[in-house]
């Protein structure tokens, strides 16, 4: 019965949240009223009664949508994001909104204004970010699927650190309407699944052209489930060896190398490839993402909604106090960076140059995909680190995204698949990057891998 499953989900969410802090709001009343609604639906629904958690930067009508920020701490969305609407139409039931780095800016969840979510494998450690809450909600067994968002790796990196499957689709595959923008040309809604099959079912429902998003593509959505068990024999997987060098944790390297051997054993052909511009990814990413963010976050000014600082005597003072008190340090850092790179006299040196290099990164991928079905790299250079370990060193934090950002820059899809555990029992992910619209291929590769080489372990904190 749906009602029992939803009740159990809500109970688990509430019971574990004290330990994990993965939910910013648990929507019991909403979920229970949705049961009645979906029960009345007569046609078969692909996600009938499926409980799902939604990252708190995706609009859910009537529910708090805080983006992990004080500036929207009291903001209730006035409409459903297109992805949420499609989930609802498919019979899914939103059970809560998940914790995240403030405005999706971070790789550890620690920039959340409401405290970091904890990694269920070791609650002293970060779950990764920015979609840490959504990753934890799945990894801890509360839900099988959740929505996150990606700008530079915010789904794949926490998926890797939490030992679950994470998908960032092709740019334009899932409508961004209702996803609160961080960096519009890089943002994607992404999906976490306990397995790739869970994620495939959700992707099939929410993908496809949306008239409300001019950047969503009119490309047919295939039945991912129909091809997810196909034989992967003969698939070509490219490995860019230059990315396996400095800065990569040895245990991660070993696990990822092992995943390459495993793919070979499944009949995949492994070839060496080169991505010469990938090493500029982080630099390019932090120029473009912060530039767009500085503009996207301008609307949070205390005039119309959200937090407004008290006691100002002029409009300018109200703006400054509101944004000073409403945003956390990482968000302010990025707004300042972005404002700087767009400012008069610096635009050509930074933003314009970054766009040119971005085109080269994209061209790198096009060359490689002429001869490969997918590219394999680590997802994250290390396993989950200790809470507080990197908060004083923003650059070290930014390097967490070194393997993931270039897929966002190029707009191509990528997934993270669990591929092993470190000696202290922390999960490690391997990343597969595909050509435009090749989500089906990535899901197929991931699913076959998961079935043949399951992780075989459960997190320390797990809902029964």
């Amino acid at each position: 019965m749906i009602i029992e499953e939803i009740e159990r989900t809500l109970d688990n969410a509430e019971r574990l949240n004290g330990q994990l802090n993965s939910f910013l709001s648990i929507e019991r009343d909403h979920a229970l009223s949705r049961i009645e609604q979906v029960s009345k639906q007569t046609e078969a629904r692909p996600l009938f009664g499926t409980p799902i958690a939604i990252k708190d930067n995706i609009c859910t009508k009537g529910m708090r949508t805080s983006c992990g920020s004080r500036i929207l701490h009291n903001y209730k969305a006035q409409y459903d994001a297109t992805a949420v609407k499609r989930l609802n139409d498919a019979g899914a039931i939103v059970v809560g909104k998940t914790n995240m780095d403030e405005f999706a800016m971070g790789s550890s969840n620690e920039s959340s204004a409401f405290g970091a979510a904890k990694n269920p494998w070791d609650v002293e450690r970060v779950p990764g970010g920015s979609s840490g809450g959504s990753a934890v909600a799945v990894a801890s067994g509360v839900v099988r699927v959740s929505l996150g968002s990606e700008t530079g790796g915010s789904v794949r990196q926490p998926a890797s650190l939490c030992g679950i499957f994470g998908l960032k689709p092709t740019y334009g595959r899932i409508s961004r309407y209702g996803l609160v923008a961080f960096a519009s040309s890089l943002d994607n809604i992404g999906i976490f699944g306990l397995t790739s099959l869970d994620a495939a079912r959700v992707l099939f429902v929410i993908a496809g052209r949306d008239e409300l998003d001019s950047t969503s593509a009119d490309v047919p959505v295939p039945d991912y489930e129909a091809t997810i068990n196909d034989d992967i024999k003969g698939k070509t997987i490219g490995v860019p060896r230059e990315l396996f060098g400095e800065g990569l944790d040895d245990e991660v390297r070993n696990a990822v190398e092992n995943s390459i051997d495993n793919f070979r054993s499944l009949g995949a052909q492994i070839v060496d490839v080169e991505l010469p511009y990938a090493k500029y990814g982080i630099a390019v990413y932090y120029i473009i993402a912060t530039a767009e963010a500085s503009s996207n976050l301008a609307r949070f000014d205390g005039v119309r909604y959200g937090f407004r600082a008290e006691g100002s005597h002029s409009l300018r003072e109200m703006y400054m106090k509101t944004r000073e008190e409403g945003f956390g340090p990482e968000v302010k850092r990025r707004i300042m960076l972005g404002t700087y790179v767009l400012s008069s006299g610096y635009y050509d040196a930074y933003y314009s140059k970054a766009q040119k290099v971005r085109a080269l990164v994209k061209a790198d991928y096009q060359k490689v995909f002429a001869k490969c079905d997918a590219i394999l790299t680590p997802t994250s250079p290390s396993t989950a680190f200790k809470i507080g370990e990197k908060t004083e060193d923003p650059l070290a934090m930014y390097l967490n995204d070194i393997y993931t950002v270039s897929a966002n820059l190029a707009g191509v899809p990528a997934v993270s698949v669990p591929c092993g555990l470190s000696s202290d029992g922390l999960p490690i992910g391997t990343q597969l990057i595909g050509n435009f619209w090749s989500e089906g291929t990535l899901l197929n590769l991931a699913n076959v891998y998961e079935n043949q080489f399951p992780l075989g372990a459960k997190p320390f904190v797990f809902a029964e």
Binding site: C59, A77, Y177, G178, L179, S214, T215, S295, R299, S343
Partner: protein, 491 residues
């Protein structure tokens, strides 16, 4: 202008494109509604909402561009103009920057200086270079009046936010305030003509800014320029430019600096005053709008728009002069407004007497329109009905005074000419035999006068005409009466 000086003036016009809905959402473009009633997540700038370009903006933008001699660009790019203001809900305006919708236009306007009483001295053609017309969204409005606690709070009404605008920017080609005045009027009529904009300055759907500097004649460098705003009518704009030219010349001559700044026209005191100085100028941090794809417009689309556009006013004016042998002045007046020009052309064609038609249109018809406040479109008298009246007059069936009386009735009631003429009993008798009979009667009953006339008293001719007209109750065609009388009185 003081001897030895010249003004350098560039114009920026914001014209509201006359779409039914906003540029990036489906909200209605309407004035006068409840504050914030025509809004949605997109034009309120709610988190997560995204813009989608209204196709009709492309159509009307293309019409406007073509009417101003601009080239519609194959690819244009929307860009964000970033600044904070309460009436700007996203903290940026979606506009266009280095890749505008249209560019590189040459527009020929007619312009003239005015004498002391405001009359044009000599109309001459002048070529204006229009650099660009780009597309953008309008902001909302801050409201400081008429609401509770306005001393403590300002209010924001976002009904106007997202209204489509075309911003038309010229090179600094104008040398006098009247050139700028004639230019704005030209643009206004052109936009109305092609249906791209209502272009009504009083309603705020056409807004002008002028960049004004002065220099000694012969100099080629530019001095600091002043941007003039709050120009709520073409006349205010002209006055503001004139004031500013004189102010700047006086400052230069007194060796006082002219600051690069924005000034407002102060209608009450008839002067400009500082709004903000250059130091307060914004760095708008333009960058391409990532939420919208580059706007592609194919040559086919442009050709298609062109094919559906009406003949432009200047082309029509020249054609009227050539085809209908009208004077420059008459032809110019006839193309003052599109419905008026089309009305004229229908009357001219049906009546087959374009000159007489022009006299009627510029005379009685214009007088009636002015006193009733109607446009040609709204006239109860159709062009076909007026043409019928013109034909009747030309055929001599009624005289001119009667025709004017008939037309007044037609305009007031919408009745056709024949009906009014019949009701008024104005139908003239032109039938020669009927008039001959009356003439014979008059001659038979006025023997003494006939003798006197034949004896040399020519002045009596008028007496006979009067008698005949009286006997015919005014219906006899005076020309026919004259002919017959002259013939019979010879004896």
């Amino acid at each position: 202008m003081k001897e030895g000086w010249e003004a350098v003036i560039g114009m920026e016009i914001h014209a509201q494109l006359a779409t039914a809905t906003k540029i990036f959402c489906g909200c209605a473009v309407e004035t006068g509604g409840e504050p914030n009633s025509n809004t949605c997540p997109v034009c309120l700038g709610l988190p997560g909402a995204l813009p989608v370009l209204n196709e009709n903006v492309i159509e009307l933008g293309a019409r406007a561009a073509l009417a101003l001699g601009l080239e519609v660009q194959g690819t244009s790019i929307f860009a964000r103009k970033n600044y904070f203001y309460p009436d700007l809900p996203k903290g940026y305006q979606i506009s266009q920057y280095d890749k505008p919708f249209s560019a590189n236009g040459t527009l020929t306007i007619m312009t003239s200086e005015r004498d002391a009483s405001g009359h044009a001295t000599e109309w001459k053609p002048m070529n204006i270079h229009i650099q660009r017309m780009h597309l953008e969204e309008d902001a909302g409005k801050n409201v400081h009046e008429g609401l509770p606690d306005v001393d403590k709070y300002s209010y924001v009404d976002l009904n106007r936010a997202g209204t489509p605008l075309g911003e038309i920017v010229t090179s600094p080609d104008f040398r006098t305030s009247w050139q700028a005045y004639d230019y704005v009027n030209h643009v206004r009529r052109a936009l109305q003509w092609v249906g791209a904009s209502d272009a009504d300055m009083e309603k705020g759907n056409l807004r002008c800014e002028a960049n004004v500097s002065v220099r000694k004649i012969g100099e080629t460098d530019f001095n600091n320029k002043v941007e003039l705003k709050n120009l709520n009518s073409v006349r205010f704009m002209q006055k503001a430019i004139e004031f500013e030219i004189e102010r700047q010349i006086a400052a230069h001559e007194a060796d006082e600096p002219v600051a690069q700044e924005t000034r407002l026209w102060d209608e009450k005191n008839n002067q400009t005053r500082v709004m903000r100085s250059k130091e307060d100028a914004h760095d708008y941090r333009y960058f391409p709008e990532p939420d919208l794809q580059p706007l592609k417009v194919t040559p086919d689309f442009v050709e298609n728009v062109k094919a559906r556009m009406p003949e432009l006013p200047d082309v029509m004016r020249d054609r009227f002069m050539e085809t209908y042998q009208l004077s420059y002045s008459d032809a110019s007046q006839l193309v003052g407004d599109r419905s008026f020009a089309e009305y004229y052309e229908t009357v001219a064609r049906i009546s087959a007497n374009p000159k007489l038609a022009a006299n009627w249109i510029l005379g009685e018809f214009t007088r009636e329109l002015n006193s009733s406040g109607k446009t040609a479109d709204e006239s109860l008298t159709t062009a076909e009905d007026l043409a019928e009246l013109v034909i009747t007059v030309e055929a001599g069936k009624i005289n001119n005074n009667q025709a004017k009386e008939v037309f007044a009735e037609m305009f007031a009631t919408g009745k056709p000419a024949a009906k009014v003429i019949e009701e008024k009993g104005f139908e003239q008798i032109s039938d020669t035999s009927a008039i001959e009979r009356i003439v014979d009667d008059v001659i038979a009953s006025s023997e003494a006068n006939v003798a006197a006339y034949r004896g040399g008293n020519d002045k009596l001719f008028g007496f006979f005409v009067g008698q005949v007209m009286k006997a015919s109750q005014g219906k006899a065609n005076p020309k026919v009466v004259n002919d017959i009388l002259r013939h019979r009185l010879v004896g």
